[in-house]
């Protein structure tokens, strides 16, 4: 992780939004979590926008069909986690 765009720059809202979208999708949020998420979004329009962007990013992968480049990455991923011989390159 050496390239500069991997480092947090001036978008803490996006970083937080990424963390939130993970929590939302890793299991049902508690009532308190849900309230915290809503409060955080209400704090600033940038937060709300960032969360919307995180959601869009997440749902981009709802239907992963028809993308050969992605299929290739999936094979490589399986190879790396030991289910198949390494088929990359």
């Amino acid at each position: 992780m050496t390239s500069s765009h991997m480092q947090p720059r001036n978008s803490p809202a996006q970083i937080e939004a990424a963390a939130w979208i993970m929590r939302v999708n890793d299991g049902p949020l508690t009532v308190a979590d849900r309230a915290a998420l809503e409060a955080w979004q209400a704090e600033a329009p940038a937060n709300r926008a960032a969360f919307a962007r995180a959601e869009a990013t997440w749902h981009l992968f709802d239907d992963p069909r028809g993308v050969p480049a992605l299929d290739a990455l999936r094979v490589a991923a399986y190879a790396l986690c030991g289910s198949a011989p390494h088929a990359k390159d």
Binding site: H5, A18, T57, D63, P64, R65, G66, A69, A76, L80
Partner: protein, 181 residues
């Protein structure tokens, strides 16, 4: 790439098991494969592959009383991996350009699907900018639909660590897709 004519002789008993498997799992397996590969024309073969592997192991009938469903989808997962791997090596070997119209599912081309594909294509390139482990974790969790704890177990790392990689991956794609950045 898949042999469509498979003149396999089954015993009466195997044939009966095969029929039951077909009735019970065909539809959900088609959905399973359909969601995970772009090759509409290979779906039937892949389903068939699953059944044949189960029969070959001779364990299907005995498993029918137990957790057959889990076993079927475990087999499906390995059929899928083999299929995708074959496709990649086949393409790499022949240097054929990938024909989207031929392989990409002619029946699935309303506009939003095309737009989504285009975005996914670009996003796949963004995933390549991530460290390999981060990319792998993202794919297993988000595209293959594994649970965080299963990804952690498979890679021998902690759940916290998987979560961190996931945040990095999601954040990276957000950044790269952001026109304002």
């Amino acid at each position: 790439m898949v042999n469509r004519q498979r003149p396999i002789e089954y015993s009466e008993q195997d044939q009966a098991v095969l029929n039951r498997l077909d009735r019970k799992f065909r539809r959900s397996l088609l959905t399973y494969f359909g969601r995970r590969t772009s090759d509409r024309c290979d779906l039937e073969d892949m389903v068939q592959d699953v059944f044949e592997r189960l029969i070959k192991r001779g364990s299907a009938s005995e498993l029918e009383r137990q957790n057959l469903s889990a076993y079927v989808f475990e087999t499906a997962s390995s059929v899928l991996t083999d299929h995708l791997r074959k496709k990649i090596t086949h393409r790499a070997g022949s240097h054929e350009p990938f024909d989207q119209n031929h392989h990409g599912g002619e029946d699935f081309s309303p506009e939003h699907v095309l737009i989504n594909r285009e975005q996914l294509e670009r996003t796949s390139a963004m995933l390549l900018e991530l460290p390999e482990q981060t990319r792998t974790i993202f794919l297993l969790r988000r595209v293959e639909g594994m649970k965080v704890k299963d990804v952690a177990a498979r890679l021998g790392i902690s759940v916290t660590s998987v979560e961190r990689h996931m945040r990095v991956a999601v954040w990276h794609i957000m950044q790269r897709n952001d026109p304002a950045q």
